[in-house]
Amino acid sequence: MAKKSLTRRALLAGGVVGAGIGSVALLASNARPVKLPPPPPSGWSNWSGGQSCNPAAIAVPADEAALAELLKTGKAPFRPVGSGHSFTPLVPTDGTIVALDKLHGIVAQDDAAKTADIRAGTRLGEMSEALDAIGQSTEILPDINKQTLAGAIATSTHGTGIAFGSLSSYVDHIRLVTASGETIECGPDQETEIFNAARVNLGALGVVTQIRLRNRARLVVERNTWFEPIDQLIDRAQNLARQHRHFEFYALPFTGMGLGISNDESTAPLVAVPPTRDTGGLEDLRDLRDWLAWAPPLRRVTAKAIIAQFGPEKLTAPAYQLLSTERPIRFNEMEYHIPRDSLATCLRQVIQTLETKFPAAFFPIEARFIKEDDIWLSPFSGRPSCSIAVHVPNDEAYQPYFAAVEPIYHAVGGRPHWGKLHTLTAKELAPLYPHWEDFKRVRLALDPQGKFMTPYLQRLLG
């Protein structure tokens, strides 16, 4: 986060103990730990533990031929899985989970065009290292790099930057094995309707096995992070987004402060990337909550005093080492994509809701910028967007908080991230997507028997 962590020692020095409230920890209802279901003995659960199932089989096909045979003879519904980083029930099935793990690595590259054909099960971290080795970088990366490329594409996973769309918008070609076991290739000039559907596909069209990404030459960035009063940061956000290649920011609840992060292309000498302060900072925000949730003014004053000790941080490194970070604390998340000019109003409402009703909240609220695209089920289709994400640790109840925040997004026509928690069904989603019926038509043509449809997919797509 910054040069120094919000260490527990700093918290104590900052006055928590000095205020004489050493043994008081009043937590709101959603801070009480919830008991996670045990992982199914021979089953599957997602990364957060919030979704799980006992499928008839978890298949890990080694190649397209094995996959085709599986789809002909295995037990439906089939659900493709990458790394299980979706919080929504896109994967659970009592049929067959199709894991893409063995389909990984770069298959081919075009050095002049800066494209690479990548197997669908390649995790973004492995992919980024492999691309770096051939002198390429993706234009953007999400803030977590554990997902597989196919999972990221299926859900329109994105990074930040007003000039950059989601990873799906950099897809040039897709290989897809359909329910009948047929392999289809699609691109901007080949099977264009399937291509428009497959670039954000929810795993509903078949199993994607290979993706061509349009990349760029190896990218080095200078990352700057700084703390700033959140009201001021929100006011400056649109300008900062125009000034920097990548800009995002976090509102730190109950502190009155925000954290800005910019990344810009750089030719400066590389520096060794120091250990992250994010985890320590997050734990300390939780400590502040645990100690001072009962007294928001004191919590704010204490937090501000502590944050004031920390200066800005500047790092220069290959982009893939800085754009994605680790998440050692598991959480559940809701993220909506809203029209870009709604950001300030919407974010202030989220902060106000959180700070007036949910004293137990402590996770920073994340705001990012995404370029519009023309992909049928892309949440960024046809409009420049901002995303606002809220998080709750996976052992605390998220439902009351997310239920209070979600209507704020709906009021501005927000579209949910397909992999992050939301309550919308086909009835509410269809009006948000001009090509909704086109997607359904292509899906039905590729999977007339509904081999990829679970009850959740039925509710989602109608």
């Binding site: 045990p38 599957w44 299980g84 793990d101 063995k102 554990k146």
Partner: protein, 115 residues
Amino acid sequence: MPTRTLSAALALLALAGCDKEDPAAIEARAQTLKPASPALAEIYQRSCRTCHTVRDSGAPLTGDATAWSKRLAQGMDTLTQHAIQGIRSMPPHGLCPDCTEDDFRALIAFMSAKP
């Protein structure tokens, strides 16, 4: 504290300091290691390596025998169960849905060994 005792304590502290390996060096080394068996190396590359070579992940790094020794003290059976059931930020099966118990044991043995 008598001078001689103080000196001994300082010497011990200095030795302890010498024994502590640079975390950046541990991370850099972890990123170069891979199992000798090609089959195990393929599994490791697409699963364990994702987190066990990244300091910020919080996972014990490959080849960091000191970090692993505390875990190994729990017994290989326990560690294997942790991999299967998931622990802290590691999801069940540790990003390896096709790993057998024997695979997990071999992967843990590789990661916890001193290079």
